[in-house]
Point group: C2
């Protein structure tokens, strides 16, 4: 008898963003005259940069000609892209990462979801609250949690991010083995200092733990004293894997390109407690279950590292950060407390009421879509997340409507 | 302590094709004057069709303009592509498959590798021998096998494909729960009749088993009496999932697009033996761990279903099948026994000696790369696989060299 992985049945309702999309669709059907402005899902709205588009077209042309056609590429990604990543995103920051430590993929969602496969199911996981749901759901599917009760899965150590700790969780009191961190944070928009991050790296070293560090939003950091990669922190190479994406900085959400960094020294332990390096295991996993990113997409991603590409990408980020500034100004003037928005495209607003209720009210009465914080965890129950990813004009309109309603 | 999934340590050496690539690279380094002809890995060599290229460019242009830009798409794939698939690949064959039963992905390798996640680790799997290594390796990683000994993993039911059964395995004597089948077969190139396939569907229905049917090579079927999809067989909707790809018919190996069909009635069982439909579980898995295929790639794939696109794709397939005919002619005249090549781009040749030895000899003495059958399983130990994916000129040269050496 073909029996199902019953851990799936522990999962709560549908995936957060599908749930929001369903509510918005139903609202739009009932109110076709209202111009809904989406500041919910963190999806970019501006086109790819001219430099990326030119490289994309050029690579498509290569695919048309037998002489330049490319079939299966290296599963890990083409060297031209991995080298550009290593030099520009790491070595330029003094982080010692080489191209063979980069694994190009089609999304940070896939990578952060898949990485847990390398470990036993009995490890203890530490997950921030609030959190990007993928970290948690993929561990539920893998059987690393108990049942869901009172808003939380049993067996998970939740790292609470609250106003009290400035949305940077304290080190866990209980011993944990696999730690998910994300800075600049989704959903709170908070950042972590190098000193704070060093505490986590030291914790991992002391407790034989591993950190999965999601840096998908690093390009939004404007404060140069903040770490842009965990490998700026001493000792991180042994205890941290980092996830990055071209989605938010270069607008690749619909184009699909990301990467994971697994340093050669990064270690875990076998059943006898012997050190094993995980680079070769992830390599094996990647080669067995993945077949590389579309060649033209890799060329479009590479182009973001050219001089012109960098300028254009920076302009894209600046564009969205002007929106973030507008959102911050609005909620400041409305006397709401919030985090984020300074080095992040997300603004995490204390609505002082149930977050789904606030979400529904905003949708119904202003036509503005946010993300209810409760969807990210218990600590988000009275927060909403507003995203800066939309046109400047739409953000202006949304802020006017919100001011009118909430003043 | 972060402990590793020790099932990974059961995996044998490196992934077959990486292994071959390493041997070829080393040979080329030592013999730079020899023009190596690769008939090993099943990778296409001809460019994408003009219709696909035009659609690809058009979609890249859409990504350049804020007004037509597409961010995150539906994880399951755009309706325009799913509808084209359902109508052209299934409904046109009388197979009742609708667009919401199609899940577009970036590769059949990923899908055939990931699908097993839905099931418990104690089910019994039935895997053909010889076999595409991904089916087996992903189950090893998931802990569904014992140790490797005498060329096989313990706990797996191997479905032997030999000359005696015309390379279509017999129904298993032991009860099995998850059955992997691939027709036209990789690596043997054999096909299955509708009657034989019906026997498997009936077995699955009688034994509460599930069939994972890999139809990545269906476009090479020239004999119209053969089933092109398992859903041509009565009763398959309840017990079969099918995998398809644009890699081999439309040359998408480096472009990346594939899909999986999960009919709404397709069922498995929970721990209490109750029927559960797996469509919703795969949907949840797909939405949680995957973020959709690159939009321009989906447009390029859609274009293969236009009238012009179909003609061009058919011409591509015919081109490779002319190569297959040439390979068959050569080995027939050399008096080798072989299977495949008629409705498949693969020719499975009985070398009557150890397959790695034959591989090395051919590489060294003719500069032709094949795939040693032993890499696909014990039953492949004295076979080699020759692929028709290369230019007609290269295949001609390779066949001349082989004739010279083996006559």
């Amino acid at each position: 008898m073909i029996t199902l992985n019953e851990h799936y049945f522990k999962l709560q309702a549908s995936y957060l963003f599908s749930d929001i999309a369903a509510r918005v669709t139903s609202f739009q059907k009932e109110n076709p005259e209202i111009d809904v402005i989406k500041l919910g899902i963190g999806d970019v709205t501006k086109g790819l940069t001219p430099t990326s588009i030119a490289a994309f077209h050029k690579a498509v042309d290569e695919m048309a000609d037998d002489a330049t056609f490319r079939g299966y590429g290296p599963e890990q990604g083409y060297e031209f892209l991995r080298e550009a990543i290593a030099v520009n995103d790491f070595q330029s920051r003094g982080a010692d990462i080489s191209s063979d430590e980069i694994f190009v993929s089609d999304g940070a969602k896939c990578d952060t979801g898949n990485f847990q496969e390398l470990f036993t199911s009995d490890i203890t996981i530490a997950i921030p609250d609030p959190v990007y749901p993928v970290y948690l759901d993929t561990n539920v599917m893998a059987g690393r949690t108990g049942e869901f009760a009172d808003g939380r899965y049993r067996g998970v150590v939740y790292l609470e991010s609250t106003r009290e700790n400035n949305f940077v969780p304290d080190l866990p009191e209980d011993k944990v083995d696999l730690i998910y961190l994300c800075f600049p944070n989704n959903p709170t928009g908070s950042t972590i200092s190098k000193t704070e991050l060093k505490n986590w790296v030291d914790y991992a070293r002391d407790h034989k733990a591993l950190i999965l560090f999601d840096a998908a939003y690093e390009s939004f950091i404007r404060d140069d004293s903040l770490p842009k990669t965990i490998y700026e922190v001493e000792g991180a190479r042994e205890v941290a894997v980092e996830f990055r994406s071209f989605s938010k900085n270069a607008g690749f959400t619909g184009t699909r390109c990301a990467y994971t960094v697994v340093p050669k020294e990064c270690r875990a332990y076998d059943g006898k407690g012997n050190i094993q390096h995980i680079h070769s295991l992830w390599h094996r996993r990647h080669c067995t279950k993945f077949n590389g990113v579309s060649y033209p997409v890799q060329r479009a991603a590479e182009a973001t590292y050219s001089e012109e590409g960098k300028k254009e990408t920076r302009a894209l980020v600046d564009y969205y950060m002007r929106n973030a500034d507008a959102v911050c100004d609005t909620f400041r003037s409305l006397n709401y407390e919030f985090a984020g928005g300074e080095n992040s495209p997300y603004i995490w607003i204390d609505g002082k009421r149930d977050s789904w209720e606030f979400f529904d009210m905003l949708l119904r009465e202003t036509g503005v879509v946010c993300t209810p914080g409760g969807g990210f965890g218990k600590c988000g129950n009275q927060y909403i997340r507003i995203s800066a990813f939309n046109s400047y004009e739409n953000v202006q309109t949304a802020m006017t409507r919100l001011t009118e309603k909430l003043k």
